[in-house]
């Protein structure tokens, strides 16, 4: 894509990558942020992301004739969110049983979620589903590469709005306070007469709903196909990213953009002819995640912003 741009293609591709590749990170990390604020961790969002991607693609393909090419993918996004919420309900119920470890449930949900996605997704690998419409902000340029880079997804914009809204939700609303109370001091919340089970269940389901939408942005926007290789650990990186973002929705947004850019590095360098380390550059996001975790974690004290009940037994 960068033939006409030469090396300028690299920053352009990274800029485009921050928006395109950052969108799934954004939804999954906001979802995980909501989940963890209630005091439970959901590692299974990797499976939710895959299920969301498959569901969105399949629904968009199946309803393309009855709903048309614009409504079908939008309907796909919604159903992907619902599919995510169903997986979330399984996680929410199981992870709150006595003596059951939420991390282990998450690992099981990665296996189960990807199994479901691959099982039902098999017939949809070949067909072409209608994609989400995009906002084309690059028409000022005659270069196709620039135009492609500035095709912005409405999902990205929705995510951009969602981050500050979630920030406000946690800070200023009664529901936000309830979730924080359950996550920080479950005993106090119980004394207030709040059902910890219900609050956590709804938070986990809501978080999984968002992760399902994140999956839809993979299959209906960028890269815009459904394959079994579509998510390679993005769901998991997003979980790590929440720690880096200190459980703060706005910082989740910035971190997601950073990760989207890192992910675009490998393909961008390959497009200008640096392909001898292509596969190693593909490891950039994972190494970046690890590096960030090493820098931000501390063995001595609990992290600022960490919900108090996170990692505690039921």
């Amino acid at each position: 894509m960068s033939e006409a741009l030469g090396w300028w293609g690299v920053p352009l591709a990274i800029a485009a990558g921050t928006m395109r590749g950052g969108t799934p990170f954004l939804f999954v990390s906001l979802g995980e942020c909501l989940t963890e604020k209630s005091g439970k961790i959901n590692l299974g969002l990797e499976g939710t992301l895959l299920t969301g991607a498959m569901t969105a693609y399949a629904i968009s393909y199946l309803t393309r004739n009855s709903l048309g090419n614009v409504l079908a993918p939008i309907f796909g996004v919604l159903v992907a969110g619902l599919a995510g919420a169903i997986l979330g309900a399984i996680h929410g119920w199981l992870a709150q049983q006595r003596r059951v470890n939420d991390v282990a449930v998450g690992i099981a949900m990665i296996i189960f979620g990807s199994g479901i996605a691959f099982f039902f997704g098999k017939p949809f690998i070949q067909p072409v589903a209608p994609q989400l419409p995009t906002l084309d902000l690059g028409n000022w340029s005659s270069l196709p590469a620039v135009q492609a880079a500035f095709k912005i997804s409405p999902l990205f914009i929705f995510g951009l709005i969602l981050a500050p809204v979630m920030q406000w939700f946690f800070r200023a609303t009664r529901w936000g306070l309830l979730i924080r109370a359950v996550g920080d001091a479950p005993e106090a919340a119980r004394a207030m007469g709040v059902s910890i089970f219900k609050v956590r269940m709804l938070s986990i389901m809501g978080g999984s709903f968002l992760a399902g939408i994140g999956g839809a942005s993979l299959s209906l926007y960028y890269p815009g196909v459904w394959t079994e290789m579509i998510s390679s650990g993005q769901g998991l990186m997003a979980v790590a990213l929440v720690i880096f973002a200190r459980w703060n929705p706005m910082q989740c947004l910035y971190a997601s953009l950073l990760f989207g850019g890192a992910q675009a590095l490998g393909p961008a360098l390959q497009s200008v002819g640096v392909d001898s380390f292509y596969y190693l550059f593909n490891a950039a996001p994972y190494v970046l995640t690890l590096g960030i975790m090493i820098l931000t974690c501390s063995p001595k004290k609990t992290l600022t912003g960490a919900p108090g009940a996170l990692g505690k037994e039921n």
Binding site: V100, A108, S114, G115, A240, Y278, Y279, I294, C297
Partner: protein, 353 residues
């Protein structure tokens, strides 16, 4: 002496597997397949006759080794799921030594060196995870899972670049290992000696954890970290040692896959023995001996993947769905310990009777 507690820890996981089978049957029914047909196909493909037993046991070998990568750190209270990465790194280490030895060295020496290299590579890979946990407080579950992707990227880099055999077009691979150096089969079977490695590793791991001071120290630290520190146990050294052993087991699985099954390193290394190993470890409740048994069961289920596709038209991901169901049911069974009256010790007097 079998106490009711022992019976409980056998009955609950087994009932969990039965419930998972039931749910899986309903799932197959919903997908339009006959559940009883599916069950009988799985049984036939896994344990129906000697040749299917051999298929299952060949798959069980890497599974039990990879399961130890999760089971050992679990005794220390760490949830490590870097099995796939350590397995891949072990494969890379083994093939590197195997290819570097030329053609003239004695096969046994080469095989021992390959096994050691595999264990070293896998061990160091997980030691990184343990070290980050101990000194930086980095969540070991997430870091080990991220390391999987790094290891796979490294493998892709090597088989597409520096170590690529130009003759491998469809599936980029390293140069093949000299057939002389490959790990052979147990006489009279198609099962390679990797199974023996696996069984020995499980027994050693069991003795180490249950019957040595080292294992006792590790279990103490896993039970109560603060108490272990106060008692003066070297928690850091324990963490690193356990992580090294854990990674070494998974690395050995990679060596077995390279030296006994594929004869070269390629993408066949990361086909899911890592994730299967996690499941085995959890179903076995992190008991190394039980992991050996469960690995044979799961090996059988993996071996039946092909037949489900051919005779029932179910996609190959069916096996993955089943694994997920088993995992979820086993986790649920954790919450049932101590709740079933018939399985509780009746009183202290009759407890050991």
């Amino acid at each position: 002496m079998l106490t009711r507690k022992h019976i409980e820890s056998v009955v609950l996981p087994l009932s969990a597997i039965l419930v998972a089978l039931l749910l899986f049957g309903l799932f197959c029914l919903a997908a339009g397949a006959n559940p009883f047909g599916v069950y009988s196909s799985i049984y036939k493909a896994a344990f129906g006759q000697w040749s299917s037993w051999q298929n299952s046991l060949i798959r069980a070998a890497p599974l039990m080794l990879s399961a130890l990568c999760t089971a050992l750190p679990a005794r220390l209270g760490l949830v490590i799921i870097g099995n796939e990465g350590a397995l891949v790194m072990g494969g890379i280490g083994a093939i590197s030594i195997g290819l570097a030895m030329g053609t003239a060295a004695p096969p046994l020496v080469v095989q021992i060196l390959m096994a050691l290299a595999g264990m070293l590579f896998g061990g160091v890979w997980i030691v990184i995870v343990g070290a980050l946990r101990h000194w930086r407080g980095v969540n070991e579950t997430i870091s080990s899972l991220l390391m999987n992707y790094v290891a796979i990227a490294l493998l892709n880099h090597l088989v597409e670049g520096p170590m690529k055999d130009p003759a491998s077009l469809n599936k980029p691979s390293t140069f093949p290992l000299e057939s002389l150096y490959q790990v052979g089969n147990i006489p009279g079977t198609r099962i390679h000696y990797g199974l023996v490695y696996g069984i020995i590793a499980c027994i050693i791991a069991y003795i180490l954890i249950q019957r040595t001071t080292f294992g006792f120290a590790a279990r103490t630290a896993g039970g109560n970290l603060r108490a272990a520190r106060i008692a003066g146990l070297p928690v850091g050294q324990l963490t690193l040692a356990i992580c090294f052993l854990a990674g070494a087991c998974a690395g050995l699985a990679g060596m077995v896959e390279v030296a006994a099954v594929h004869g070269r390193a390629n993408a066949s290394l990361n086909v899911g023995y890592g994730y299967g190993g996690i499941l085995v470890a959890f179903v076995a409740r992190h008991n190394p001996l039980a992991a050996g048994v469960i690995a044979v069961l799961l090996g059988g289920i993996l071996a039946s993947g092909g037949i489900l596709q051919r005779s029932h038209g179910l996609p190959d991901a069916t096996v993955l769905v089943f694994q997920g169901l088993v995992f979820l049911c086993v986790l649920y069974s954790e919450s049932r310990y101590g709740t079933i009256a018939a399985l509780q010790p009746q009183s202290n007097v009759t407890r050991n009777a």
